[in-house]
């Protein structure tokens, strides 16, 4: 989707501008109509400025301060330490920086797995439920429940299922299916990463499903009929019609899901608490730990700035890759 105006409306809006020197009736109306859009976007602009832009700039500034529990009370006079936080926090050979880059790499892997699999499940479900059959309405509603559920409820249920040694998952794997001999711990140690991935997918795939189902429904049915008459197989129809037609929806869905997942804080925080196990330590919880558990806000801010830069570069590359072709569908 795009928010750029269509050519038709552009031509119309340009017309009064061109002859504004003459026609006095036009001239009188012009100031109002040129003020109107600004008045309408003003509340949104003010809120964005207040809650997003200014805090972000302040956050970047804090990255250059020595802001700890000692200086937080009077933060405006916290000592300026230049690049010290960046050097300490982002040095890959240091222990802090080493942990940071490790968690950055882990977050990339986590994002790729969660977004990739959520997309695949969402797409499969959307294709399956786009055809008519008995029980379609029920499944369509059911599949949206994980997304409608508050995220903390989802995390609470899964935490209970992966609970200690005697939760539902171990009951299923050890007692009922006999797949494992002893009961692994899930929420600590190496397994915790996979728990995080599964819970995140459970929560996210219905979003992909919802968005892609909507996109599929806007594809005219006669395209498929024409292809079927030409003898195209189901798979051919999927790759030849469905995928190209939902290209711009895919771009939006993947970008949004990617950003959400890369910044994910809620699910690890709810599953593991203040400190994630090392195997599952994503970047946002790591920064939270430095800021609000170890009280080193300057260091946390420096790490956040790195995170922001990574996100901007990744998004810019992605948008550049996708947009030029996606535009043609508008």
């Amino acid at each position: 989707m795009s928010t750029t105006e269509q050519p038709r409306s552009r031509a119309e809006e340009e017309a009064p501008k061109a002859d504004s020197g003459r026609g006095s009736a036009r001239k009188r109306r012009r100031p109002r109509s040129s003020f109107l859009p600004y008045g309408m976007v003003l509340p949104a602009a003010v809120m964005e400025l207040l809650i997003h832009i200014i805090p972000m700039l302040l956050g970047i500034y804090i990255a250059f301060l020595s802001l700890t529990q000692l200086t937080i009370r009077n933060w405006t006079s916290a000592p300026f330490v230049g690049l010290e936080n960046f050097i300490r926090g982002l040095d890959p050979s240091g222990s802090l920086g080493g942990a940071l880059f490790e968690s950055l790499f882990r977050t990339v892997l986590y994002t790729a797995l969660v977004v990739g699999l959520s997309w695949a499940l969402g797409m499969a479900a959307a294709v399956a439920l786009n055809s008519r059959f008995r029980g379609r309405g029920v499944l369509r509603t059911l599949f949206l429940v994980p997304y409608a559920l508050p995220v903390y409820v989802a995390a609470i249920i899964w935490a209970f299922m992966f609970n200690q040694r005697d939760g539902m998952i171990n009951r299923l794997l050890v007692e009922d299916l006999g797949l494992l001999d002893d009961r692994p711990f899930w929420l600590i140690g190496g397994n915790s990463f996979w728990v995080l991935v599964i819970v995140s997918i459970w929560r996210l795939w219905p979003f992909a499903f919802l968005m892609l189902l909507a996109a599929l429904q806007s594809i005219p049915a006669d395209m498929y009929e024409a292809a079927a008459i030409d003898g195209a197989s189901t798979w051919k129809r999927f790759t030849g019609i469905t995928l190209p037609m939902v290209r711009s929806a895919n771009a939006v869905v993947l970008l949004v899901m990617g950003l959400w997942t890369f910044n994910e804080f809620n699910i690890p925080y709810l599953l593991f608490g203040d400190t994630s196990p090392e195997a599952a330590r994503l970047i946002s919880p790591l920064i939270y730990e430095h800021s609000f558990v170890n009280w080193n806000f300057g260091l946390g801010a420096a790490m956040s700035v790195l995170l922001l830069i990574v996100l901007i570069i990744a998004s810019a590359v992605y948008v550049r890759m996708v947009l030029p072709k996606g535009r043609g569908n508008d």
Partner: protein
């Protein structure tokens, strides 16, 4: 459309897998919430030894659940309504009018979507504290601070989606109204709003879900009085034990209204999305 056998099998397997994946946790949620406490400890049982609704009674007195529920409702509903008003106002000129700075505005709003929450949590807290001193408005530990934070979270996606949605509405509709003597705002209220209702509903549901599930900012911006459900539910866990049956009974209770609301608007949601965001 003709269906091949292969497609039917693909459909069966996909839907069976996804149904189990979706339902398993929901089953655990429901079944645990009606178990007596001694049945929740130790190895998980697929069926309760006996069914009891005592967790649904006890959960209200173990923690001040009613207060947290009220807090969540006040904050989320206010934030959603304000977000809708603000984003309809902003989406309309983006979809229809031509003005200087439009591209900059829409790109800026969109890019705020990718700011990591963790980056501006502390700065926002510091700004709120500073604002309290200067303006005398209680922003931390009050509804106000949380409401304006949540409504802003909803804005980028809402504006973006609504702009696409409004763009898809034929311009002739408003032009006709304006020829009849209505102002642009009048046309927006009388023509666009009714036609865009499914899109607005869809955006409202998204805004509601975002705010209802928020954890990070709630943990810093609330105090014992204004705590929302996302933070308050932790209190079912003590040093020694978690009252899982009460915790899950409370979880189910507070999820039910959202799920029912979501199901009711589900149809509009898909049609709203297909006209708006995924065009």
């Amino acid at each position: 459309m003709t269906e091949t056998t292969g497609f039917r099998w693909f459909r069966r397997i996909t839907l069976a897998f996804l149904t189990v994946f979706t339902v398993l946790p929901l089953y655990v949620l429901v079944v645990t919430s009606v178990k007596p406490l001694e049945n929740v400890r130790g190895l998980f049982t697929w069926l309760p030894d006996r069914i009891t609704f005592q967790p649904y009674v006890d959960m209200w007195s173990t923690i001040p659940l009613a207060r947290y529920l009220t807090n969540s409702l006040v904050v989320t509903i206010t934030a959603t309504v304000l977000a809708l008003i603000i984003s309809v106002l902003a989406a309309y000129p983006l979809a229809r009018l031509r003005f200087r700075g439009k591209r900059v505005f829409s790109m800026t709003v969109l890019s705020t979507q990718m700011f990591p929450g963790i980056l501006f949590l502390l700065p926002l807290f510091l700004i709120f504290v500073q604002g309290e001193e200067i303006l005398g408005i209680q922003l931390t530990g009050s509804y106000t601070g949380l409401i304006i934070t949540y409504l802003t979270f909803a804005l980028p996606f809402s504006i973006w989606m609504l702009a696409g949605y409004i763009q898809a509405i034929p311009e002739g509709l408003e032009e006709a109204a304006m020829i009849d003597g209505t102002s642009r705002i009048g046309a927006l209220v009388r023509v666009i709003l009714p036609v865009a209702r499914p899109g607005i509903l869809a955006v409202g549901v998204f805004a509601f879900i975002t705010a209802w599930g928020e954890v990070l900012f709630a943990s810093v911006l609330t105090d014992t009085e204004t705590r929302t459900l996302s933070i308050g539910l932790k209190l079912y866990t003590s040093q020694v034990d978690t009252l899982w049956n009460q915790l899950l009974a409370a979880s189910l209770t507070i999820s039910l209204p959202v799920i029912v609301a979501f199901m009711l608007v589900q149809r509009h949601l898909v049609s709203g999305l297909s006209a708006g965001a995924v065009k």
